[in-house]
């Protein structure tokens, strides 16, 4: 259902700081808007983003309605070993997406 994009280098040297970019397709409804009839529109946002490096949490973001639709997050981590980077987005109304990327560290 949900569409996410991640940009992680495929290879890195041990100790390198790698740049990671993520983008999740989500409208991030703020909960502060109203319909043209005045009825409030319920909040529906991604609240948490987590990045795990071989199962260990290396980055986490708490998001609020002030984050734009289709949240983009760029951060970095140190390439320590070959393995899997796991990305998790969680939000209102049971929104959950998980994506993984392989990295080879020489």
């Amino acid at each position: 259902m949900a569409n996410v994009r991640i940009d992680v280098p495929k290879t890195a040297r041990r100790g390198d700081i790698i740049e990671i970019k993520t983008l999740a397709a989500h409208h991030m409804e703020t909960g502060f808007r109203r319909t043209h009839l005045g009825a409030p529109i319920a909040r529906d946002i991604i609240t948490t983003f987590v990045c795990l490096y071989n199962g260990v949490e290396v980055f986490r973001a708490d998001l609020y309605p002030s984050v734009s639709a289709n949240p983009f997050i760029q951060f970095s981590t140190v390439a320590t070993e070959s393995g899997t980077l796991e990305f998790q987005w969680r939000g209102d109304n049971g929104f959950t997406v998980t994506e993984t990327a392989r990295i080879t560290v020489a």
């Binding site: 109203r34 973001a61 983009f72 970095s76």
Partner: protein, 158 residues
């Protein structure tokens, strides 16, 4: 005599009318989204510790045409070692309906304390970044930006 009095009255009325028009125009210009409870929220986060200026660099464009998508980069001057690193970077806004924008939790494994995202801004206002360091100190930066098209204003109730 009669004629001159009329002229006086006209001038006086015209003066009143102009003043009224100008003041209402001035008022229209300064009508702003009200301030939210950002200071309380920041106080709750840092407790009674001081917030030092410096170390943090909050990058936002000074003039924003579209408040729906504003690129934001925040970086902290930190060696990011196990002994001295950034634990969290908190971003706050002064005039959005909710003061919290985002919180990024880092650690020594981040390598570099720099994060970028995109945010919404409801009005011309200040944005504040507060970095929480592993030694328990708080550092901050503040950026003022002008927003011409605000987020959240396109759907006023009919």
């Amino acid at each position: 005599m009669m004629r001159s009095r009329k002229r006086r009255t006209f001038l006086a009325l015209a003066g009143v009318a102009t003043t009224a028009a100008l003041s209402s125009a001035a008022r229209a210009q300064v009508t702003r989204t009200p301030l939210n409870n950002m200071p309380d929220v920041i106080r709750k986060l840092v407790g009674d510790k001081p917030i030092n200026p410096g170390k943090v660099k909050l990058d936002l464009p000074p003039l924003v045409e579209n408040g729906h998508l504003v690129p934001l980069t925040v970086s902290v001057d930190s060696p990011m070692t196990a002994d001295a690193h950034v634990i969290a970077i908190h971003i706050f806004t002064e005039r959005n309906p909710q003061p919290e924008m985002a919180t990024f939790r880092l650690g020594p494994r981040a390598g570099r304390a720099q994060v970028a995202t995109r945010v919404r801004l409801a009005d011309t206002q200040n944005v504040v970044a507060i970095a929480q360091l592993s030694d328990g100190t708080f550092w901050s930066d503040r950026t003022h930006l002008i927003v011409t098209l605000a987020a959240c204003l396109e759907e006023l109730p009919a």
